[in-house]
Subunit: 243 residues, 2 copies
């Protein structure tokens, strides 16, 4: 545990846990922990600041949503020099779609840090994406633009954004594998399990079996990504027979 | 003229003029002038880059629109701690409204730098706001987040954003003056003229006369602002009689 031990002098035990949890997710140290506390505070807790203003993650979500859009916009601007503004807008919507952000927030297991009066099992899917946006807002306020950009590159663009896939130019390898198995009347199984190991970030491993034989393995930060990776490997391994 | 004279060695004369024009608008020196050239390039010119991609300001507009929204979001987050995310969203829309951006772009006289095949008199109002957004995008690419923030504070938030006025808590002083004059059957006249003087930015001066007497003068970066300022002065000068 690589942080000054005096953190325990100024904060109670649970703050130390929270600090570690946030540092794990961010990949760098937070400076003003209270901002991140707000990013994980659900309105059901009904907390107010000294001036009587409600404290919860909704205002940070507003801020993070905007910053996330800006950094994705810049990424797309550089990455797709041939795309016009209509294309860029469409791609940005795909990347920051509610569904996509919920998946991201879920993979980062943000919910474990959420403070709420509602049992966490009662939440719908949107809480994952909302807290993810609030977290981006908190980083923006705490560490500024550069750290926000780093976080979004490390946690969103790197592991999730594949422009060709978003464009639909690359077909899903998983769908190719399933199609082939069905045609060949072969059984198949994607065996997915959590395998975080020593990574600071949650990881999933998958073993893809066709018939009774494991044909490919893969590991990634989301189930979908791990399955797709294993499928791609299987596809190239089986290429002669599939093609 | 406070820039290295060797700029004239590497650029033809019109680049020097463009450099000066952009520096005036920005309030700081551009680094990569070619990015700003793009920000003022209308699609009608039909220029393409080496790879055959169309060159005009529309992609930069996409980028600038997003960055502008983010910086205004952060400003509002800090400025209005009691506003919930719905309120913040509403206020942001008011500030970055098409009408408002067009006014901004017009006051900065951005159109004078626009390169186009269409006569400038044929453009509608939206070109002013669009080029303004593109310019923000260009600053973002050329100088990064901090300069964008500075530009938006200097050119948008400082001179234009008055939260109380946007909220409608403060009534327009101009409308109070007009109402009073009409009630009193007095003639009034707002005499507005350009008075940029030594400022790097375009300025307007206004003389407000009631009856035949000049009752207030004011100067600002927009006609509206100058009129409002003069009205406020007149209002307080005439307070005993109006109130």
């Amino acid at each position: 545990m690589n942080f000054p031990s005096n953190i325990f002098n100024s904060h109670p035990k649970q703050d130390g846990d929270f600090f570690l949890g946030v540092t794990d997710i961010l990949g760098f140290k937070p400076k003003r922990l209270e901002i991140y506390k707000k990013a994980f505070l659900h309105r059901s807790v009904n907390r107010k600041d000294k001036k009587g203003n409600p404290m919860n993650y909704e205002r940070l979500e507003f801020l993070g949503d905007s910053m996330l859009g800006t950094i994705i916009s810049r990424y797309l601007y550089n990455e797709v020099p041939e795309g016009d503004e209509g294309y860029l807008t469409k791609m940005r919507s795909k990347i920051v779609s509610r569904e996509h952000l919920n998946e991201l927030g879920k993979d980062l297991n943000l919910i474990k840090l959420v403070e709420s009066r509602i049992p966490k099992t009662h939440f719908g899917d949107n809480i994952h994406g909302n807290v993810f946006e609030a977290l981006v807002g908190a980083i923006y306020l705490d560490r500024g633009y550069k750290y926000c950009e780093k976080f979004i590159y490390d946690r969103v663009i790197g592991p999730y954004v594949d422009i060709e896939q978003l464009e639909g130019k690359v077909i899903s390898y998983k769908s190719l594998i399933i199609e082939w198995c069905q045609k060949q009347k072969k059984s198949f199984n994607y065996n997915v399990y959590e395998d975080t190991g020593k990574d600071e970030l949650k990881h999933f491993a998958v073993k893809l079996s066709i018939g009774n034989k494991v044909v490919a393995k893969a590991r990634a930060t989301s189930k979908k990504k791990a399955e797709e990776r294993a499928s791609k490997r299987a596809f190239f391994a089986l290429q002669d027979r599939i093609g």
